[in-house]
């Protein structure tokens, strides 16, 4: 992989804002009770999705990694990186495939929903490996899937509208 020359200052700023917004969302969503250990609502997925749409998978990965690392450093728990990244990566791969290959047939809400679902699946897999039993996986899977139906749709719709406006704002900067 060739070393890319540093991106334009505009892009850097936009990405920085995206990452910080993601961190803030992440921080606040951790206060909402979730039926599974270490799992998150995945509202921060909005930012990931927006990055995907506005830019490309490369930038999205950047956002994901930086957000996860900073997020866990802030929370003071280095282990949560594993949860964030496992869920995040799985979710990102799914969303990339859905958006780029099937973008014509699937809306952002759909992309986001499946992304949220796989985000949770990734986190459950990580938790199962860490705790050593697969019982965890099956026990929480249904509840989290139900959750992701709603959060995913919500995030997707939010992203849908945000993107339209953001494109205009960024374009004019």
């Amino acid at each position: 992989m060739t070393m890319r020359s540093k991106m334009s200052p505009k892009k850097l700023i936009v990405l920085a804002i995206i990452i910080s917004t993601a961190l803030v969302i992440h921080y606040f969503e951790s206060f909402i009770p979730v039926p599974a250990p270490g799992a998150k609502l995945g509202l921060a997925n909005i930012m990931l999705l927006i990055t995907l749409v506005l830019y490309s998978p490369y930038e999205a990965v950047l956002v994901l990694v930086v957000r996860s690392v900073l997020g866990s450093l802030m929370a003071g728990n280095p282990w949560s990186v594993i949860y964030s990244l496992s869920g995040g990566f799985l979710s990102l791969i799914v969303m990339v495939i859905l958006y780029y290959k099937f973008g014509k047939h699937i809306s952002l809400a759909g992309v986001s929903t499946l992304g949220a679902a796989f985000h949770n699946i990734g986190q459950l897999i990580a938790a199962s490996i860490v705790f050593g039993t697969f019982g965890i996986f099956y026990t929480y899977l249904p509840a989290l899937m139900l959750f992701s139906l709603f959060t995913g749709t919500f995030t997707g719709i939010a992203a849908h509208f945000s993107v339209r406006n953001l494109k205009k704002i960024i374009g004019s900067l």
């Binding site: 992989m1 998978p57 490369y58 990694v65 990339v96 490996i129």
Partner: protein, 348 residues
């Protein structure tokens, strides 16, 4: 652009998945089986658990083939058939077990004696022919019980029962040997945590996988409805804990009629089930074979002499429960035991 990104993502994900694989906690593998005339349950932790246990089970079957009294051409069966006739060549593990048994007979001054077999057969306890035999028959068989008449030849690896009609039963002590062998095999296979239940005697390897000590319950010899099945808990790490008692294998009919328990732990000197006011004994030792010999001997010796003997042996602790639900402990056990049934009280 998409291709590059996809490749990048792929590499990153692979790296992360590999990183996740290093955090593997211990999985366990459990197998149980009927062997050595009892029920055996083996549980080991770690990646090699299944493999190690399978090797251990093969070894158990091998020991059974050599030392079982019911298998026709086992070493022990041949020794018994040739009592008073000629020495029998045996495998070195059989030799070792018999030699060890004789050592414990010496140590316990004859209270533990594998040559008790003719008497045990007479009573038939644990079989369908259990009954109280005539005292004359007992007197008749008693001279056959004498561990000193088991003659070993280390060079030829032979065992000779000097008098016709003598018989040995390696029963419990073979189980103890098997438990020690299982531990050896698991250890050699790199297993660090395991718990083995060999017909009721529990041997542990290492601690529990979470780092805590194993918690082993001592069976309550007089369990009633609603009671806890254990009256005390002893913590264990790499030790064998074995209980011997009158609460299993006794003549049911006689018990139902008279309330008397004719149980299976015989006094080699009287030919009768040991009657010392003891209900059950428990021994904690580093070796299962030792725990078996000593728990039986302690039962026959009674509280005082039994505990004295235990105190005199390094690395062994013991517990005696008497008919009146009093519990006597060896000094080293006082700190390591936790009572869970208040109806058993600790004697001073």
């Amino acid at each position: 652009m998409l291709k590059q990104a996809t490749r990048f993502i792929f590499v990153l994900v692979t790296v992360l998945m590999l990183a996740g694989c290093t955090a593997q906690p211990e999985k366990s593998y459990t197998k149980d089986l009927f062997a050595l005339n009892t029920f055996i349950s083996l549980r080991a932790y770690g990646a090699k658990a299944q493999q190690a246990i399978e090797i251990a089970i093969d070894r158990i079957h091998e020991i059974e083939k050599r030392m079982s009294i019911t298998i026709e051409d086992s070493d022990v069966a041949q020794i018994n058939t040739n009592s008073g006739i000629k020495p029998v060549e045996v495998h070195d593990d059989t030799f070792y077990v018999i030699k060890t048994a004789l050592y414990y007979s010496e140590l316990t001054k004859g209270k533990f004696d594998i040559t008790i077999y003719p008497i045990a057969r007479l009573w038939g306890i644990g079989t369908e022919n259990a009954r109280v035999p005539d005292i004359i028959d007992i007197q008749h068989k008693l001279p056959l019980v004498n561990y000193r008449n088991v003659l070993l030849d280390e060079k030829e690896m032979t065992v000779f029962l000097a008098n016709k009609g003598m018989g040995i039963d390696l029963g419990g002590i073979a189980k103890g040997y098997a438990a020690d062998e299982v531990v050896r095999i698991l250890n050699e296979s790199g297993i660090e945590h395991a718990i083995i239940n060999m017909g009721g005697s529990i041997t542990t390897l290492g601690s529990r996988p979470d780092g805590n000590l194993w918690r082993i319950g001592v069976r309550n010899p007089r369990v009633q409805n609603g009671d806890l099945e254990h009256m005390a808990i002893i913590e264990s790490k790499g030790t064998s804990i074995l209980s011997a008692g009158d609460y299993e294998r006794y003549i049911l009919d006689v018990y139902k009629e008279t309330g008397r328990r004719y149980h299976h732990i015989f006094d080699p000197f009287t030919g009768f089930p040991a009657k010392t006011g003891v209900t059950a004994t428990t021994v904690v030792s580093r070796s299962a074979i030792e725990a078996d010999a000593l728990s039986t001997a302690m039962f026959v010796m009674g509280v005082e002499k039994g505990l004295d003997m235990i105190e005199g042996i390094e690395g062994v602790e013991g517990l005696v429960i008497t008919d009146d639900k009093k519990v006597f402990l060896s000094k080293g056990l006082v700190e390591r035991i936790e009572f869970t049934d208040p109806s058993f009280f600790l004697a001073p």
